[in-house]
Each structure stands twice: as C-alpha cells, then as structure tokens.
Amino acid sequence: MPIIRSDPVAPKGKKDAARHREKQKDAIRKQLPEIIARESIITSKKGKTVRIPIRIMDIPHFRPARDSAGAGAGQGKGKAGTVIGRRPGTGKPGEAGDRPGEEYLETEVEIEELIEMMIEDLGLPRLEEREGEGMVAETRFKIRGIQKAGPWVLLDKRRSAREGLRRFWGFLRYLEQETGQSELECFDALKQKDGILSDALELLQSGTYAPVHTAFEPFPIFYPDDLRFLEQKKDIEYHSQAVVLAMMDTSGSMTDEKKYLARSALFWLVAFLRKIYERVVIRFIIHDAVAEIVEEEEFFKKVLGGGTRAYTAYELAGGLIESEYPVSEWNVYAWHFSDGDDFEPARAAQEAKKLIERGISMFAYGEIEPSGGHHDSSLLAAFKELLDVQVHWKDGFMVVSGRESPFLAVAIQKKEHVHLALREFLDKERWGHGI
C-alpha cells in the first residue's frame, strides 16, 4: 500500500493546552494565600520566576490509594530503601504528608504572573493604567532647536556655514550689480578684503584694482547674525517614583518567625509598588530604643537588644523625607513592623501623625504577633487614641484604618494573614485616597 503524506489539520492541541493552562492558573489562584507566604518565593535570588507545587490537573476517578499500591514499578539495582529519585518538596518537612494521594507537579510561575493573579483576585483595576501619574522626578537637557546666539561649544557648524555661503552669494550679486564687473573680479575683490562688502566695493570702484585670485572659489562670510547655535532646553521628564521607608523593630522580642512574616509582607508590597511606579527605592531603618539606617541584609538579620522606641525610627524617616525624598517628587510609603510593645507609644503616635501630615502616600503599621491574642499592644492603642481611625474585623483579622488619613494598621498572626494584609493595602478605596 502506498505511503501517503497526510493533509495538515487545523492545530487543536495548542488551543486545548491553553485551556489546561488556564485551569492550572485557577488552581494556583485558589492556593494564593498559601503560595505567597512561601519561603522559597521571597528568598529566590533571581526574582523572576518561582517554582511552586500545584496539583496535577487530572480527571478524578476511583483508584487505589497510593500508599496501598505503592508509587510504581521500576527496574534496576538497589536494595529496599535505596533512593532512586529526589525532587524539591512542597515546602516544609512533613507538609507533603498532609495531603495523601494528591500528586503535585512543580510548575514555574513568574512572580509577575502571581502579582497579576493577586490583583485579579482582589478585583483591582490593572495597575499599569496608573503608571506615569505625575510626580516630577528628573530633569535633564535636551537639544530642542536652533538659535542665533549661544556658547561656542554648541555652534552648529553646518547650519552656520550655510548661512555664511548665503551671505557670500548675496554680496557677490550686489557687487556685480553695482560695478558691472565679472563674477570672478567681484569674487577676487571680496576675497582680498576678507569679505567686507564696503571695502570690496571701494576697491572695485577705485580704479587701482588688480586681480589676485584667478580661480572662483566661494567662501562663507560670517556676520554675527549668521552664526547658528543649537538650542538647549531644560527638559523636565515626568516620572513616577516611590520610596519605601521600611522600618523594623529589631528588639529582642522580634523572633525570626516574626521577621519572616514582616519580610514576606514587605516583599509583596514592594513588588506591587514596582508595578505602579517606574522607580521604587527602598530604605531600611531598624530600631530598638534608637534607630539607624541599614542595608537590606542587616534589616532582616540584625538583632538589637535594649528597649523599643518606635518614635526614633519615625523621626529618622521624617529626616530622610526632608533631606532626600521630598513628597513633591516622591510618593512616600512608610511601613513599620513591630510586635507593638513600645516604651513610649504616645510619642510614637505623635511622630507617626507628623509623618502623615507631611503628605506621604501611606503610613502602614504591621503588628506581628504570631502568638495570637487579641489585646491591643501599647503602640496600637496609642495610634487608636491619637488618630481618627476605624476598626474592623474580618474572619479574625483586624484592620485599623484612618478615616481621612492614609493610615493603615493590620495584625499579622500567621502566614495566611499576609495575603489579607496585602488585600487591605491594595484595597481599591485606599488607592483612591492614597495617591
């Protein structure tokens, strides 16, 4: 039987594969609160993509439990107990065992994609639309036109030469007309008198004229008016930029676990801001009883002793705004993470109020209290007392927000609260007031 070449058919696989991918995304979306608090994400160095385990999209069917039938059969050497394969697990030790029978597949997802999903999930408008909203950011010089005066460095030689030649021809025709002499003679006189029209005319009419140049060779004649300079203008470019003043309580009571929650929240907040602003700068301030500006590394690692005075950090933040990040040019986000046991809470609240009054975009306070317990810390109580705020609870999650001011305080007690805190932060309403 002859072998035939089959007619190409309309590709179907791609379309159905896209549908599968869409379903996978839905699954990721459902796991978002758990995924975003994942350690592997915020510690990923490359920052572009993360690997997350998602359940294999499968048609459910009756099948024997995996533990009874084993995972499968294979061929090769090795006694019972020999490891034949290993791949990164679903996070913390022991976690995978919590979901017997479910098969997970490590999938690479772009952080960008996760952010998009969170935004969709929260029902927010796409943030890019806000991009470029006006903050004066950078000025530089730009060539915008031509002018008749300027510094020699900006002399436009080509344009100037053209003007000079134009003047030469103008003079030449004038001389021809006035004296009736030939083009060559007029040129020669003009050349002898270095392009000065009145002297050349005088020479031609004097009767003592004797030709010097025998070849006609046009040359430019410059009068001050003929020079052309490039025009340079100050160019104000409108950039959108934001500075994050991240403040962390590093007194002894801030355990690694608390810092991890702070770090996780900070990671995502910065990621969101990066979507809104073309440029995002982060400055790190740590404090115990006194505050200091540090590098990122120290921010998460350093443990100070002593007491806790948040106002010192707020003062320092105020100083930074004053000296480096004027609110006229920067959207300023001040975020503070602490467990809230402050020695001078009233003074801290005062300083926070001052920061808000500078016109910053947001003052957010994240109270990290993994131990739970719903008593107000001294710091939170002071905020509530001094600022005009409203308090609401959602599924055991407390949110305190300023009625008129861009103040926000949340209590983060566990990993899942990071997602809720972000939700509050990104809340549509608040964006309306904030920027």
Partner: protein, 513 residues
C-alpha cells in the same frame, strides 16, 4: 523527506511486510501517513486522528510536545490505530532508519490486532474514528449553544467513570428488561416448584421460603437495576433522574463508546507492545541482512532501539519488559520447563538446567498473543526467576524529614510480593470494580454504588471528587459502599459535601451483599 527516501520507504514497507509474513505474522493493508510533529503529538494525545476538544488532550499534547522539544527531533514516536484498515503515523522529521523501525514495529501491532481475541473485539468499534470526527463537530455546536463550561463539565464527569465497563470485555450491551424477565422467570420457576404439591421431586418448602420468593418477585418487578450493572455510564445515560438532555446523553455516549473501543488495548498493553518490539528487532535484522537498509543506518537503528528498550527506574517500561516476557516464555517452552513434572520438581539446580529440547517456544508465544491478557501473562510468567532477571522492584514516595524533599525509595524486592501487587494492578488495570446496586435508593431516586473490595482501599480525595462528578450526571445523592481503614463504610455526596459513615450501627443501612 526527499523523493529518493520516499521510494526507499515504500520498499521497506513492502519488504518488511513480506518478512513479517514469513515469520508467520498476519498482515493487512496499513495506511502509513507521513505527518508533521504537531500531527503526531496530537494523534498521540487525542486518542484518535481527530477528536473533540478537551483540556486533558491539551495537557497530554503539551507534555509530549515539551519532551519532544527538549530532546530534539528523532523521537521514536509511533501511533497506530486498530481500524478496519489500520492507520499509522510516521514522523516526517525522523531519520530514515527510525521510520523503518516504526514500520517494522507496526507489523507486530497489526498481527496483534488481527489475532489477539481482545483486539479482535476492539475491531468491532472500527467506526470509532469517523464517529470521533463527527462528534468533534457536534460538540462544537453544543459549546456554542450551551456554553463551553457546561459541555466541559459533562465531558469531565463522563471521563471520570469511563473505564467502569463490564469486567468481561466480550459482554454485549446490558439489557435491563431482558435481565428482569430472566430473573423473574427464575423466581417464578422456583415458586411453581414450591407450590407443586404433587411433584415427587419436590423437597419440602417452608411457608417462609415461599413468602421470601414472593417478596423477591415483587421487588424484582420494579427494582432498578434488576441485577447489578458495572457499566456506569450506560446505566446513567438511561436512568439518570435529572433527566439528561439529548446533547448530554450524546456526550456521555461518545465518551463511553470511545472508552469501550480502547479498553481491549488497555488490557493487553504489555503483550501488544512486547509483541511489536519482539518482532521489530527480528524484522530489522533481516532488512539489514538483505541490504534494504545499509550499514550506516544500523547505528541509528541500534541507538533508538536501545533508547526505547532501556530499563526505567521510575516506570514499568512496556518496551523492555514486554519483549523480555515473550523471550522468557519462549525459552521455557523451548526447554520444556512447563507441565506437571517441571512444576513438581523442587530441586532448584535441576530446574535451572532443565532442558527437554521441547522446542515449543514459538508456538507458545503465538498462543499467548492470541489468547492472553496482560493479567494472565503476569500471573503465569512473573515468577521469582523473571522478576530477578529483569531487576524489577516496587518503589514508594516518602518525604525527607530533613528538608521536605520528595524521595522515591525502593520499597519491595521480594519477588512474591511484587508479583502479588503487579497482578492486582493488572486485574482491573487500575480501575477498581464498582457496581450500581440501586438506582432508586431510599425511594428517592438516589444512586447506590458498591465498591467490590479486593484488598485495596480507594484514594479518598479522588473518591470524593469522583462522587461529585457522578452527582453532576445523576442530580441526586450518590452513595458509595466501600472499605475505609479496614471497616465497611458508606460515603455519600449530597450535592454539597461528602459524608463518610463508618459507624458500627450505621452498618444496618448497608445493603446486604
């Protein structure tokens, strides 16, 4: 592909067919098609040359495409369908020797299609390809009319239970009324005999027994199904109290008949791939010996053959274990290592060197391909010797407590246990036996299913989600009687959540087996 290659490929096709016939294989005309990688990958993912749209096909396509792209061209892919005129794909970008290998391999499959009693059964569904093509058309229409999500939901739910067919592949369509009449006839006969006081053969019947028969007769008159049904989709299509709309019935019917057409392949995958691999080596050797293929091409062939038949650490490689199975059987039957005398010999050394020069090897393997299913072959040949020779093991997955890694660990090397588990895996090919016991449970049209427990409990998460899918098709509560942690249990999905009842007293609610 160059025209010269084309001509040569036709020569290979013709000559390899003749060689296959010389070896005693049955052949028929095969439609060989040269296709692009996209068509090949779709052919593998979509079950048939064209089929309806579904995300699981897309998923499989994507997976195969990723492997294809990462490993570069020249993958020994082949697709062959058991149609009236079998149809096979050859990948246009494959090296010539590889396409020759695929053709040789296909002749093994074709003989299997024609001679295996299971695959002969599959040929009954020969129209399935054109049915799939027209179903694709109709489903597109349904999507437009009833919405993509709605159609997808139904296909998903149907696929959930598509392999729950009658355990006997030769079983014709169930016939509910026929079964009812037959059962009623049997009961009536019993009753008549009981009431025939003059019969001398009559054994004394008690009044209670007569009442029992009358009760059964009464119940039989309206019970649905009158006797247990294993073909879940068949029952749902006819009896769903929803009721199903015409398009929904169509979707379920298409999924069901495709699964029925493919079921014989599932039951004989090891034997079928083993047979094709066993023969492609022998056919290729002849082609090289005859000079149809040249020495340079031998390297390409040897490479790919080794690639396909290498043992896998994480998988049961059909292409390695399958031919090994035939070779093992052939060797034993050649040396007369079978029969009572051999079985009863308990001297291992004597058994190992047993050679009665019987020479019945070829005969035996041809018989296996005609009459065996994979389960039968495993039952008979996966003995300690075979399992050791092939280094077979079972492995499990655990979590490394140190860092949370998922680790695959060799779990079982004891041949007897491996044989027992593999045998089980192949009994129903991964599909536990579930029967419809009652379609009008609680007199409220609820569906009562029974899992025929065989020592292996169901995966709870899959079980619950499957019950949800069945509910999608049935519309009322769905019950499943099964065993959980060694105890009889009743799982019920009521449209909102799954409840599991393992309580001792609740066992009263269970239908007597």
């Amino acid at each position: 592909m160059e025209s010269n290659d084309w001509k040569r490929l036709e020569i290979v096709e013709r000559r390899s067919r003749e060689i296959a016939e010389e070896f005693g294989l049955s052949t028929t005309d095969v439609l060989f098609e040269i296709v692009s990688s996209q068509q090949m990958l779709e052919g593998m993912a979509y079950r048939f040359p064209t089929n309806f749209s579904h995300w699981t096909f897309g998923r499989d396509y994507e997976r195969a495409r990723t492997i294809y792209e990462h490993t570069g061209g020249g993958l020994p892919y082949e697709v062959v369908w058991n149609f009236e005129t079998p149809q096979a794909f050859l990948l246009e970008s494959n090296p010539f020797a590889l396409n020759a290998l695929v053709i040789a391999h296909v002749w093994g499959h074709v003989d299997f299609f024609l001679k295996s009693r299971y695959l002969q059964r599959g040929r009954v569904f020969s129209d399935i390809a054109s049915e799939a093509r027209s179903a694709a058309e109709r489903f597109r229409g349904y999507e437009e009319r009833y919405g993509k999500d709605e159609v997808e939901k139904f296909i998903d739910a149907a696929m959930s239970i598509e392999w729950h067919q009658h355990p006997d592949p030769f079983f014709e369509e169930p016939d509910e009324e026929g079964a009812r009449e037959r059962l009623i006839r049997q009961e009536r006969a019993k009753l008549e005999r009981a009431l025939d006081f003059h019969s001398q053969f009559k054994k004394p019947e008690t009044k209670a027994e007569i009442r029992e028969i009358e009760k059964r007769l009464k119940r039989l008159a309206r019970k649905t199904p009158p006797e247990p049904v294993y073909d879940l989709l068949w029952y749902i299509i006819r009896k769903s109290p929803l009721p199903l709309e015409a398009w929904q019935q169509d979707v379920l019917s298409v999924v069901r008949s495709q699964a029925r057409a493919l079921a014989p392949n599932r039951k004989t995958k090891l034997l079928n791939e083993g047979w094709a691999t066993y023969w492609h080596v022998r056919i290729m050797r002849r082609l090289f010996a005859e000079g149809v293929l040249d020495a340079k091409e031998h390297g390409v062939f040897a490479d790919f053959h080794a690639k396909v038949t290498r043992p896998l650490r994480h998988d049961f490689n059909w292409y390695a274990i399958g031919p090994a199975l035939y070779e093992y059987a052939e060797e034993r039957w050649d040396r007369g290592q079978f029969g009572r005398e051999f079985d009863e010999c308990d001297d291992p050394a004597k058994k190992a060197y047993w050679d009665a020069k019987t020479g019945k090897g070829r005969e035996k393997i041809f018989e296996m391909r005609s009459f065996y299913s994979d389960r039968m072959a495993i039952e008979q040949f996966f003995d300690a010797d075979f399992i050791r020779r092939n280094d077979l093991y079972l492995y499990t997955q655990t979590v490394d407590p140190q860092n949370g890694d998922i680790v695959d660990v060799v779990a079982e090397r004891d041949p007897e246990k491996i044989r027992r588990i593999l045998k089980h895996l192949f009994v129903h090919y991964g599909t536990p036996v579930i029967r419809v016991e009652d379609g009008n449970h609680n007199q409220r049209g609820e569906l009562y299913l029974v899992h025929e427990f065989d020592g292996f409990e169901l995966d709870p998460s899959y079980r619950d989600r499957t019950l949800e899918n069945i509910h999608e098709l049935w519309g009322r509560s769905v019950h499943l009687e099964t065993v959980i942690e060694g105890k009889r249990a009743l799982c019920t999905y009521n449209g909102r959540s799954v409840s599991v009842d393992t309580g001792g007293s609740a066992a009263d609610g269970l239908i007597e087996l």
